[in-house]
């Protein structure tokens, strides 16, 4: 689609250039209408400056229109560039109707340029005076992201602060998450029944943070599994996940003091194909009849196929994902579901390590910030729109500016 658009854009561009060329001779294709003529209008003023917030190599040209666009024979504005160091001239672009700015991305930071803009009317080129000389340069900081940086620093600062304070021994209250409490029970049941547990860390590769979240939970589960001497079976969809999962389980077995019981075959690669993987996992479920199934990671449409098969074999199922579209299916078909953020918090809960738990309190500060900002934003917007309050409008606009993604 993008490629097509690009082709189409270049076709339009070339055809408009051809069109401009074809009308450069004195006769015009449009009949002259009565109305303001070219000579009545003032000249175009051109400003050129280095493009903001970029890595160099671009100059922004801006101009005003004294009224050329309203003329009957108007075709477009031609942007004319002079390389003042090399002394060469060339036309850069003919802009379509309605534009007043143009980013010239074909300049070098080592040269200086001056720009003129010409209105193309009835085959005439009405060239403006050249702009001042400009040179493009790169910026070290993207100014549009100032607020993103500040917000990021506040939230990250809060997380780090509570990690540090937890390290110093501040006690923390944490609410219970039913799904996590069920993990021990599920592993215990598998041990009693002498059946394996099945662990699926989603179907994404290691470049999805949900997969990593799944693996961190795997670390805790594997420790319990090692202690109870239960069997764990973990099919994976991506080779990298296989490597990472093996390291994770191995470490858990070592921590539990049972390095001898670890075996690489606990984790095995199946296939990178989404539904091929599902077909195999379904097969494993009905043949090995695991007593507990864990689905923790990023899932797509296959979520329900796996969860329903797991349900049909009577396994205890604990699922967790940050895919909003798949949550309903897990909620419907599994015994416990970690919803969104709970997936990321789970490993901290399970580790019971103060520093990890501190990070959760930091995330809560983020939520508190979100709630306060939303509250203020809603009040300001409401008063500004219902009672035309200038000051509230100012607050609303400030908040919108702060919370714009740049």
């Amino acid at each position: 689609m993008i490629a097509l658009l690009r082709i189409a854009k270049s076709v339009v561009f070339i055809s408009s250039l051809l069109f401009v060329m074809s009308i450069l001779p004195t006769h015009s294709v449009y009949s002259q209408d009565a109305g303001p003529s070219v000579s009545d209008l003032g000249s175009i003023t051109v400003r050129a400056h280095d493009t903001d917030n970029d890595a160099g190599g671009a100059i922004t040209v801006e101009w005003d229109d004294p009224g050329y666009e309203k003329l009957a024979g108007f075709v477009g504005f031609l942007i004319w560039r002079t390389n003042t160091l090399a002394g060469t001239n060339d036309s850069v672009e003919v802009t379509p109707f309605g534009t007043r700015t143009y980013d010239d991305r074909s300049v070098s930071d080592d040269s200086t340029y001056s720009y003129s803009v010409a209105a193309l009317v009835n085959g005439e080129r009405l060239m403006s005076a050249p702009s001042v000389q400009v040179r493009s340069s790169k910026q070290w900081f993207d100014g549009r992201l100032t607020w993103v940086l500040i917000l990021g620093l506040i939230i990250c600062g809060a997380v780090i602060y509570f990690i540090e304070s937890a390290k110093r021994g501040t006690k923390l209250f944490l609410r219970r998450i039913a799904g996590l409490e069920a993990i021990d029970e599920a592993v215990g049941r598998a041990t009693e029944m002498g059946r394996p547990i099945l662990f699926v860390a989603g179907i994404q590769d290691m470049d999805d943070v949900q997969t990593i979240a799944g693996l961190t939970i795997l670390g805790s589960i594997a420790r319990t599994v090692a202690e109870y001497d239960t069997k764990i079976n973990m099919p994976v969809r991506a080779s990298l996940v296989m490597t990472a999962a093996r390291e994770t389980i191995k470490q858990a077995y070592i921590t539990a003091g049972r390095p001898d019981a670890y075996n690489d075959d606990m984790v095995h690669y199946v296939t990178d194909e989404q539904f091929g993987f599902v077909a195999a996992v379904d097969g494993i479920m009905v043949r090995e009849r695991p007593a507990a199934c864990f689905f923790l990671g990023a899932f797509f449409a296959e979520s329900l196929i796996m969860a329903e098969t797991g349900n049909s074999i009577g396994a205890i199922q604990v699922a967790g994902t940050a895919m909003p579209a798949q949550l309903p299916f897990f909620v419907a078909a599994c015994d416990y579901t970690l919803i969104g953020e709970e997936l990321f918090a789970a490993s901290a809960y399970l580790s019971e390590e103060p520093r990890q738990l501190g990070s959760l309190k930091g995330a809560d500060v983020g939520k508190a910030i979100a709630m306060i900002v939303i509250l203020v934003g809603v009040i300001a917007t409401t008063i500004a729109s219902a009672w035309n309050s200038e000051s509230m409008l100012w607050i609303e606009n400030l908040l919108r500016q702060m919370f714009s993604t740049g």
Binding site: V209, E341, A345, T405
Partner: protein, 272 residues
Amino acid sequence: MTSKMAMRILTAIVALIFLISWIMKSGSGMSDSAFTNVRNGFLITFAVFLTLSIFSFLYRDNPFYKFAESLYVGISAGYWMCYGFWSTVVGNFVPRASRSLSEFFHVPYQEQADHIFIYIPIIFGLILLTRLLPKIGWLSRWSLAFIIGATAGLNLTRYLRSDFISQVSNSFIPLFVDWKGIGDFVNHISLAADGQFIAILSNWVIFVGVMCGLVYFFFSKEHKGAFGVASRVGIWILMITFGASFGYTVMGRISLLVGRITFLFGDWLNIL
């Protein structure tokens, strides 16, 4: 013994149907070449066989499903590895790394000053393979560390911008839409879908819903008292969300089945 016998009979029947279908499909082929017709007859019959084999899993696990599953796993693993090779190695790495290799694979070589950097992933990739050597297998953690670091770094800012900031700013909504005073509101109150009352109600529900939903996710505060009430409302909102998304998706899922059954009845049996 009897179930083994039944299985044999079933397999024989399936084989017979397969053969008949192959012959019929080959006979009705469109191509001039007999080989193409016979080949396509086989392929279509095979595709039907695989389709039915997968569906048979709904009854219970069976040899036909096991066959289809095993084949699917093998074929698709090979498929994605070939794809990875041609698109990533040949498509992305070779043009940046070597001119002669680019010529060999007929891909345009990219002149770049910084193509030394393209060897970073190669080094980490080779380090990853030390996993195969027991003595220095621990080195592969370096590659994992590189990958996990990249994932964490990329996602931190990505989620901050796209999810946190944009979702918060989307929530700045007026609680009194088109407000012309309380008198006007009371006079025109109605539950019409396009009425002012519903527009206002929607914004209140969104506002309260987002707030209570966030309260539900608070980990470090006990869900008691007013906080507990808000968290409970939060769960209800989440439940509505899940129910609604589930209900909305059902129809789309059925259309997938329609596609398969149309394939069986139309492309194979020609009865549509």
